[in-house]
């Protein structure tokens, strides 16, 4: 096994990086892969609560880096999925406790043990961001269809290119079909045109994400959730499969145009 390291980043905070990380990790584990997700947000850990694993933390990423434990000891196994693990961030330290070379070393040690390493990047473009992109094979930039998130995504895409880690791929989160239809929200097509990178997923704005986060149960665990399906589709695309883009809207129109635009097979 030689794991693929996927880093989820965005620049702007609050666009859904952690939710995306949790759901992609769940979706890949549901597909039968061995997955470790790493919370790269030292000092502001959250991936543990989003996954519902906060009560089981003993060791964290900084303990690994500072040799207080073995990597295995810091890997919390999920109760719902056999092959899903979390390495939590330290809560009482800051970004400087970990360096880009530490992250590369930790990931290299894991590479022969697992199929996917999914890293949740902190907001911002400083040390924490650099730590999480250093070991990445694939970088996914999460944005929302609004001006500040798109602008920050553009900056991040440029930085990823400058680090020769590109091209990044794009996830557009919190798309509201009603607003889009009315002309009061940028469409996924608009965002792709502005940012000029490959789209790998479109996630609808869904109140169930709030509810599932309250419960620590990522929506990808719910077989009936359309939003969960959107995350599962991204997981399939990460595996190299061609999956048509979902229609977010029952009458569906703009996303069927999206499917045509990107020729991801299907309709």
């Amino acid at each position: 096994m030689a794991a693929t390291v996927v880093t989820i980043t965005s620049g702007k905070g609050g666009v859904g990086k952690t939710t995306t990380t949790a759901n992609l990790a769940v979706a890949l584990a549901e597909d039968g892969f061995k997955v470790v997700c790493i919370d790269g947000d030292i000092g502001l850990r959250n991936l543990d609560v989003v996954l519902g694993l906060e009560n089981r933390i003993v060791y964290d990423l900084v303990d690994i880096v500072e040799n207080r434990c073995r990597i295995r000891q810091a890997m919390i196994r999920d109760k719902r999925l056999e092959e899903l693990y979390l390495i939590p961030a330290a809560q009482t330290r800051d970004k400087s406790a970990v360096s880009p070379s530490d992250m590369i070393r930790v990931c290299d040690e894991l590479r022969n043990e697992v199929d996917y390493i999914i890293i949740d990047s902190p907001a911002g473009i400083e040390r924490g961001f650099r730590n999480t992109i250093a070991p990445a094979d694939v970088i996914l930039v999460v944005t929302n269809p609004e001006v500040s998130a798109v602008r920050d995504a553009d900056r991040i895409i440029g930085l990823v290119e400058a680090e020769e880690k590109g091209p990044a791929k794009l996830i557009i989160n919190r798309v509201n079909p009603g607003l889009t239809k009315r002309g009061d929200m940028l469409t996924p097509e608009d965002v792709v045109e502005l940012l000029a990178i490959e789209l790998i997923g479109v996630i609808p704005d869904d109140e169930n994400v709030v509810i599932s986060t309250n419960r620590g149960q990522p929506v990808a665990l719910d077989p009936k959730s359309k939003t969960g399906q959107a995350f599962k589709n991204i997981a399939k695309r990460i595996q190299g499969q061609t999956v048509p883009f979902l229609q977010l809207d029952d009458k569906g129109d703009f996303l069927s145009r999206m499917a045509g635009l990107f020729k991801q097979g299907g309709d």
Partner: protein
Amino acid sequence: MAAWGKSNRQSADEAKERLKLVLIHDRTDLSQDELSTMKNELLAVISRHVEIDPELVKISMSHDGREQKLTADIPLKTSHRRKIG
């Protein structure tokens, strides 16, 4: 350019236009003011060698994927075209 006059203009279109300009600036580190200064300097240099009509000159930033391009369309005044042969 943003058409501020239109009241029924949809906000997503405005967002897109504004973002286009902001992203050009962010990617090139060149503001609208700096762009027009550069334009004037370019025109001054070109005018030293050939006659041009500054009104017809178009210098703009565009992008091809994530590549930024400076495009200049500078028509020369026809009366000064040299005869061939």
